[in-house]
Amino acid sequence: MTTTLVLFLAFIAITLGITAWAAKRSGSTASYFAANRRISAWQNGVAVAGDYMSAASFLGIAGLIAFFGYDGFMYSVGWLVAYLTVLLIVAEPLRNTGKYTMADVLAYRLHPRPVRAMASLSTITVSTFYMIAQMVGAGALVALLLKGSGISFTTAVVGVGLLMIVYVVFGGMIATTWVQIIKAILLITGTILLSFLVMAHFGFSFGAFFSAVTQVHYHLPDGTEVVKDFLTPGLRYKPPYGALDLISLGMALIFGTAGLPHILVRFYTVPDAKTARFSVVWAMALIGGFYIMTTFLGFGAATIVGRDYIAKNGGNNMSAPLLANALGGSIFFAFISAIAFATILAVVAGLTITASTSFAHDVWTNIIRHGQEHNPGEERRVARIAAFVVGAISIAIAIVLGPTANVAFLVALAFAVAASANLPVILFSIFWRRFNTTGAVMGLVAGLLASIVLIFIGPSIMTVDAPTVAPAARHMIQHAPIFPLENPGMLSIPIGFIGAILGTLLSKRDLAGEEKFVELQVRANTGLGAEKAVAH
C-alpha cells in the first residue's frame, strides 16, 4: 500500500513538473490548443494510444477475459480494427482542413454557426459522458488500490479531477500530450512485464498456457464448482441477443473511434497530414500489441489467480493488479496500480482539453464572437475557464453517482454518439458535394438523439433487478427493456446517416457550399493551405 502511494505521488510529481515546463511554452493559441503542431509522428502515435487505452481497457478487458474468456478477447479486437477507419478515411483530410476542433472541418463549407453549435454540443456530450464514466471508475479504483490509506471515493475523485484540471488549465495540449506519452509507455511496459511473468509461470510453453486456459475452475454463485474451456465463445454473450449486441458494439467501435473528438484533435498537433498518417501507424502498433497481450493478462488472471479469488478481492476490474500481486509481489502490484492511475489521468486530461477547446473555439469565438477574438488571448482564457467548469461538473456528477453506480453504459453512449452523429457528417462533408447545412444539423441531431434514446430504453437503464442487488447498483428504471441491445449502434448509426441524407435531399441545394466543396477537396487531398507548424 505504501509503495503504491509513493509511486502515485512520483507520477503526480513528474506530471506536474511537465505541466510547469509546458506552461512556459503555452503562451500562444496554437501552442495551447495544438502544441504548436510540432509533435512528431512517434510522439503523437504514442499519445493517441495513451489517449485511447483507458482504464476500462486495461482493467476492464483484462477482467472480462478473466471472467468470460474468449468473449472478452473478441471484445478487444474491435479497438484496433477501428483505427483503420481513422487511418484510411479521416486522419489526413482532417489535419489538412481543420484547425483546432472537429467542427472546423464541418464548418468549412457549410453555414458555420448552426453546424458549430451542434458539433460542439455533440463533442461536449461525448467527452463529458466518457469522462464521468472514467471518474467514477477512477474513484472506485483508487480507493481500492490504496485500501487502508484512508483515501475515500470522494477524495479520490476530487484528487483525479483536480490533477486533470491543473494539467489542462496550465499546461494545455503540450502537457496533455506528454502525460499521455508517459502513460502509454508505462502501460505498455507494465503489460509486457506482466505477460512475460505469465508465460514464465507456464515455462514459456504456449501449449501449457492454452491447456490451462481450456480448463478453468471456478464456483458458481450457488456453490457448485465448474470447469470451463475459456477459449469457447458464449460465456458472456448469450442468445437470443448476444451476437447482435456484439455486432452492434463492433459497429460503434469501428465507426465511432474515427468520430471521437478527443482522438481527432490529436491530429492537429502534428506538422502535416503525412505525419498524421505515420502517427496512426505508431498508434496501431502500440494499441494492437496491447490488446493482443490482454490475452496473457486476462487468461493469466483466470488460470493463475482464479475467478473465485478475484471476485472476493475487488471484482473483475482488479484482475490485472491481483495477477501482478500473485506473480511479482506487492512491489509489482504497486507498479501496476500506479499504471492504472496514470492511465485514468491521461485519458481524462485528453477529454477535458477536447471539451474545453470545443467550447472556446466553436461556441465562444466562432458563434458568440462571430469568428474574431475581441481581446488577444481571449480564446485561451475562455478555454481555461471551460476546462475548470467541465472538470468541476464531472467531479460533482461522479460524486453524486457514487462508487457502485453502473456507468459502463456511458462509454457505450460516447462511442454510439461518435459513430451515429459525428462520423456521418464528417464523411459527408468531405466526400459528398451535395451535402448541406440542414443535412449536417439533421444528421447530428438524429444520431445524438437516437443514441441517447436507445440507451435510455435499453437494458443498461431499464432492467428489473433481483431483490438482492444493492440499491445504489440498481438500474435506473425497474422495467423490462424496450430496446433489447446494450449497444445502440446497429440502429442509431443508420439513423444518423439517414438523418444527414434526408436533411440534405429535402432542403434547398446550397450552391455556394457546393462550389466550396472543390476547395475543400483540393485542400483535404493535397494539404495546400493547411495550418502550418509554428516555427521556434
Partner: protein, 119 residues
Amino acid sequence: MPAPSNPDPRPARQEISVWDRVARMDDFKKLLAARKAFVIPATIFFVVYYFALPISVGYFPALMQRKIWGPVNIAYLFALSQFLVAWLIAYLYVRAARRFDAYGEAVSKDLEHIVAEGN
C-alpha cells in the same frame, strides 16, 4: 502575390480560383483516382472481415469451436488474425500513400508553374 507553396486560401479576385485550377489538373485527378482505388476496396474488405468474426461466432458456434492447433480453436485464431490483417492493411496503405504523396508533390509543382507564369 501568394507564395507558391502556400497559396492564399481565398484568391477570390481571379476569375478561376486556385482551387478550381488545381481541381482540373491531371495530377490531381490521378491523386483522387489512386486514393479511391485503394481506400474503397480496402475499407470494404476490413469491414467485412471484421464483422465476419462476431457473425460466425454468434451463428456458427460449432464450427468456431473446432480445435485445430492443440487446445486452440478456430474462434481464437480468427480473432488473432484480425490483428494481423489490420496491421497488414495499414502497411499496404502506407505503401500506397507514397504514390498519393508523389501526385500531391506534382500538383504543388504544377501550381508553382502557374503562379510563376502569372496565370
